[in-house]
């Protein structure tokens, strides 16, 4: 990997990190450029092998597809997985399997960096406090813009350096990796997405019995030719039927609760 290539990858690693404002903020950055699928295309273009990049991106994406970060709690660092795992795998002549094998451990290691930035960034609001006290609008803007710097240095820097310096190591690592170890990462990589979905279920489940809905979705996709879009429409139908069947009544019932009952609407 040439230095320029590593530099470009570092830059995009930063653009796809959580605190980047440049491309429509978190929407175009973390949630778009930061996605392994998109990263795969970008890295593929940079390294001159779009095909392998996209395939590796899609395979690494599967690891993190259901991942949410409630309240800033990151279960695994997608950024290093994408912007270090994929390029090193491609550089070593590998593709999807190799990218997954690197992404799994890198996503663990990257958590340290993520939490470090989340911690040091706590400095800037205090700078903002002081400006606010003085009614100094420019000071607030300054504090905001300065927050960009650590993220830039650490994200772009780490990705660039590890890609550039780590390439030979990664190459020998991957080339000498016993097939059983590669197989282990593949197996683990296929199982690990369960964690993201478990978080998602926990987050979404307002009532315990609703877990059955998750199971229904699983089974319907497994036993029919539905695409996810079709499933979403069907799911909207099921939800609408439920809400309408149940909801209608409330209104009727409300009617009976004449005089004093007004707090019975509680649900």
């Amino acid at each position: 990997m040439s230095f320029l290539q590593a530099l470009l990858i570092g830059l995009f690693a930063y653009l796809g990190s959580k605190r980047t404002p440049w491309v429509f903020g978190v929407t175009g950055g973390w949630n778009m450029i930061g996605r392994p699928l998109v990263a795969g295309l970008i890295i593929g273009v940079i390294l001159g092998d779009v095909r392998s990049g996209v395939i590796a991106g899609a395979m690494v994406q599967a690891l993190f597809i259901g991942q949410i970060t409630p309240g800033g709690a990151m279960p695994a660092d997608v950024n290093w997985a994408s912007y270090i795992g994929i390029p090193l795998a491609l550089a070593a002549g590998g593709t999807g399997e190799q990218a997954v094998a690197l992404a799994v451990p890198l996503s663990m290691l990257g958590l340290g960096l993520f939490n470090f930035i989340m911690t040091i960034n706590a400095y800037f609001p205090h700078m903002g406090d002081r400006a606010a006290e003085k009614g100094d609008g420019a000071g607030i803007r300054r504090a905001t813009y300065l927050t960009v710097i650590p993220s830039f240095i650490l994200r772009a820097g780490s990705a660039m350096l590890i890609c550039y310096l780590g390439a030979p190591l990664a190459e020998s690592l991957i080339n000498n990796m016993p097939t059983q170890v590669l197989h282990f990462f593949a197996v683990a990589g296929r199982m690990l997405p369960a964690v993201g979905f478990a978080m998602l279920i926990k987050q979404s489940l307002s009532q315990k019995w609703m877990i059955i809905l998750f199971l229904m979705g699983w089974i319907i996709i497994g036993a029919t030719n539905m695409t996810v879009t079709a499933l979403a429409i069907l799911a909207a139908g099921i939800a609408a039927l439920f809400v309408m069947a149940k909801g209608e009544t409330k209104v009727v019932t409300a009617g009976t609760q004449t005089d004093e009952e007004d707090d019975c609407y509680e649900e």
Partner: protein, 276 residues
């Protein structure tokens, strides 16, 4: 709904909306989360509203420097509402500082929960899984391109809409949300259900686990996966894995890292034994 003698122009709101879209998450940190960025978005607005009341201006800046956290994309409604409330206050209406802060605080929780599960947890995986199916077999760039175009236009559009909606409804937006509980409940329940079903579908195509061990005895070779697990139900193992992970997380209070470790160790053992 809109104030008759509004102080703020359409242009001010547009500018604030763009500020928010670009910077909402830019200052994230463990202490205040989105606090500083929220103040940054409000600053030009407050400057104009309290142009001739420097004390009010300072106090306003300070109240928007406080801790704030929500799912930033769905949460675009909240700064919209906040601006409308500040404008009303500047015009001398009876809007206390507490009311403004409390409204922000009351809304950020539900919007975080719904936003995380619907936007990040459901809508994005839908798009991603479509996109992945477009490119996985031959590395076609159409997959990621499709994702970028659809995601960016819909989500930026949604933020733009919600921000302006929040401003135009003003405090009414919050009221609608909290007093018409029944409707809010219906919508929340419906969306939750929709989300859970779709998540189940996406999970079934993503989480994978299969036994490669074959029972061999004499000439006969029986694939345990095909012969037993697939007959019970294809995908029974990853389903049990996912439900198991949820169970440990929810009921046994395992931490995410513990579960990741557990799965990794499990995978290692299974591979070592030649089972998976």
């Amino acid at each position: 709904m809109k104030n008759k003698n509004a102080i703020l122009s359409r242009k001010d709101i547009n500018k604030a909306a763009w500020s928010y879209i670009f910077f909402s998450q830019a200052t994230q940190n463990f202490e205040r989360m989105m606090g500083l960025a929220f103040c940054y978005v409000m600053e030009p607005i407050l400057k104009k509203l309290y142009a001739d009341k420097p004390e009010e201006y300072k106090k306003a800046l300070q109240r928007h420097m406080q801790f704030f956290n929500t799912e930033p994309q769905l949460g675009a409604l909240i700064p919209g509402i906040t601006i409308a409330m500040e404008e009303a206050r500047a015009q001398g209406e009876d809007v206390s500082e507490e009311l403004i802060v409390n409204t922000k605080n009351a809304l950020m929780g539900p919007f975080a929960g719904i936003g995380d599960s619907m936007i990040i947890g459901t809508y994005s995986p839908i798009l991603l899984s479509i996109a992945m199916s477009m490119c996985l077999e031959d590395g076609n760039p159409i997959g990621p391109l499709f994702f970028c175009v659809v995601w960016l236009t819909t989500i930026v559009g949604m933020q733009w809409y919600l921000f302006h909606k929040g401003y135009s409804m003003g405090i009414g937006a919050a009221n609608t949300f909290f007093t018409n509980k029944e409707l809010a409940d219906k919508i929340t329940t419906g969306l939750t259900m929709l989300g859970l079903i779709v998540i189940g579908g996406v999970a079934s195509t993503t989480v994978r686990a299969g036994v490669i061990y074959k029972f061999v005895s004499g000439e006969m070779s029986i694939s345990i996966q095909e012969r037993i697990f697939d007959k019970i139900m294809p995908g029974i193992l990853p389903l049990l894995l996912t439900i198991g992970a949820w169970y440990l997380m929810d009921k046994k209070k395992w931490k995410t890292t513990q579960i990741i470790l557990g799965i990794t160790v499990l995978a290692a053992i299974m591979v070592f034994l030649g089972i998976m």
